[in-house]
Amino acid sequence: MMLEHILVLSAYLFSIGIYGLITSQNMVRALMCLELILNAVNINFVTFSDFFDSRQLKGNIFSIFVIAIAAAEVAIGSAIVSSIYRTRKSTRINQSTLLNK
């Protein structure tokens, strides 16, 4: 099992996450693709730390912080989505230009 295979996997997940984040009209799907991006970054950090830093695992420690940040961001993002849904009854991203009036 080589290093580059896992890096390709994380790069693929990252690009799929960016694709889903940019071309999604729904806020919840955008948040889920953001989780996918953070997951891919975690795989990258952990793989490099495991292959090159087996004694201290600094990348693994940083991935724990990324998990904590991702959980908090999911919490706050879903609070924003639910409050938008309560006032507007729909969660389409196209409608965010309606604030410009």
Binding site: L3, E4, N39, R55, A79
Partner: protein
Amino acid sequence: MILSVLSSPTFVSGLMVARAKKQVHSILFPILVFHDTSGLHLLLGLDFSAMIFLIVYIGAIAISFQFIIMMFHIQIAEIHEDVLGYLPVSGIIGLIFWWEMFFILDNETIPLLPTQRNTTSLRYTFYAIKVRSWTNLETLGHLLYTYYSVWFLVPSLISLVSIIRAIVLTMHRTTHGAVKRQDVFQRNAISFRRTIMRRPTDPIMR
């Protein structure tokens, strides 16, 4: 071989996250991706990180998303009408991105052409691990609580912010259909004898 078994559902599920049509499927595919990521951590020998992924990502984040989708009847299915308009600029950006990715992949590592080349992986052996091996949990604890202890306290403050979010979300008063809550004094004023009564069709009653 195990890596390809683990990563092939990831390839499919990652694509289905962006494209799922039904409401429930759009959260089940990220759960599958997180399962495979956790298995990947197990392959790398990081057991604690694998369990943390299962508990935090699947058990907290995905469940939170599921509740948001279930509670608010959010329509996930969307019509992709205008996606092709993005294609010129985003295609160029995507191609530059992947062109830089391919710098790490030489011809020796992708077995497109089966050349009999002795490839050595980028792993070198530490002999300290054979004397006394530390578990993943011991290593993380050795660093997190001593050197990075201040950094460890900062995500606790961020988790405090997410706790406040959870409270604010349920205390939102000015909603269209008002959030149900209980009045404590009314609850205490209900007496048992006036509330629960027997029906006439009860065979015990005369």
